[in-house]
Symmetry: D2
Subunit: 99 residues, 4 copies
Amino acid sequence: MKILMDLCVVPQVEGVSLSPYVAACQKILDARGIKNTLHAYGTNIEGEWEDVMAAVKACHEEMHKLGSPRVSSFIKMATRTDKDQSLEDKVASVEAKMR
Amino acid sequence: MKILMDLCVVPQVEGVSLSPYVAACQKILDARGIKNTLHAYGTNIEGEWEDVMAAVKACHEEMHKLGSPRVSSFIKMATRTDKDQSLEDKVASVEAKMR
Amino acid sequence: MKILMDLCVVPQVEGVSLSPYVAACQKILDARGIKNTLHAYGTNIEGEWEDVMAAVKACHEEMHKLGSPRVSSFIKMATRTDKDQSLEDKVASVEAKMR
Amino acid sequence: MKILMDLCVVPQVEGVSLSPYVAACQKILDARGIKNTLHAYGTNIEGEWEDVMAAVKACHEEMHKLGSPRVSSFIKMATRTDKDQSLEDKVASVEAKMR
């Protein structure tokens, strides 16, 4: 089962900057060869359910390893049986209707 | 790794009522013995990462089986290494500060 | 326009405990007479759009006043034109289908 | 008070395609001159609190006008007092840490 996901990992840490932590998550996704696109409020991900969920777990584990005692994730995700839709398809489909 | 989750499954279906679908998800959680509390905007869940994620997948599969071609989930979740916190602990902790 | 909302305010703060901050938000909702129910992963809210949004803003302002430099909110919300539904209606509707 | 937001409006409609509805929301944001970037799972928005919230309300009203009896939104948003951060700053900050 394929899944499209928007993942936003928020580790609770000292200080205000979260970008080193987000970067660590990005590296995990890239290292696992999981298709992803960073945006200003999360990362869009496309892949097989098991691969994507294993990557999300690896992100939580990495955040804890980097010193965060409490790691939250905020996720939007969808599965479809009617057609195979990519992240690019979704954006293209909206943009086509805006012309 | 234990996880606390707020799960909101939204199947795209004909008609406006989603409650039969939400009820089907609740039954999946109950049948698997996963601790959960229904509220007006989702279901709070507490359990081991693998058990909880397997239940979420089972919910998506059930929604498709019930006829929804597109199933979305909206999830808030957290893991902690500093202490073992239950769903009840979280509510009690806030209520204690309101007195 | 009436709105049902699930509000989860997350201030970035020193230390791990967020419950004093959540309690402060609850007090704001109560003081404004906005119907709400605390659960383990947020607060369900019911009210007129303008009242609810003004309360959300007041929560952000209060978090900053209490010392948080960065305040995030994670919101699920819905408006309906087909019927007037309360928070209790939503829960009752699911529970009726589980019997 | 400036706000950064990730907005995902989900109207309940007949049929599976939501892109015409998302396009209608994009047009509302553009017509109001509110800075926004569409991605595969929502739209990132930057602006003054009141302007952004008025636009979100206009999106809900437009979805109802287009025939959806039930409109949900899923929002992530943040306000900061420590610095003025743009949508581009957030992405650049993560990307700098990935090199």
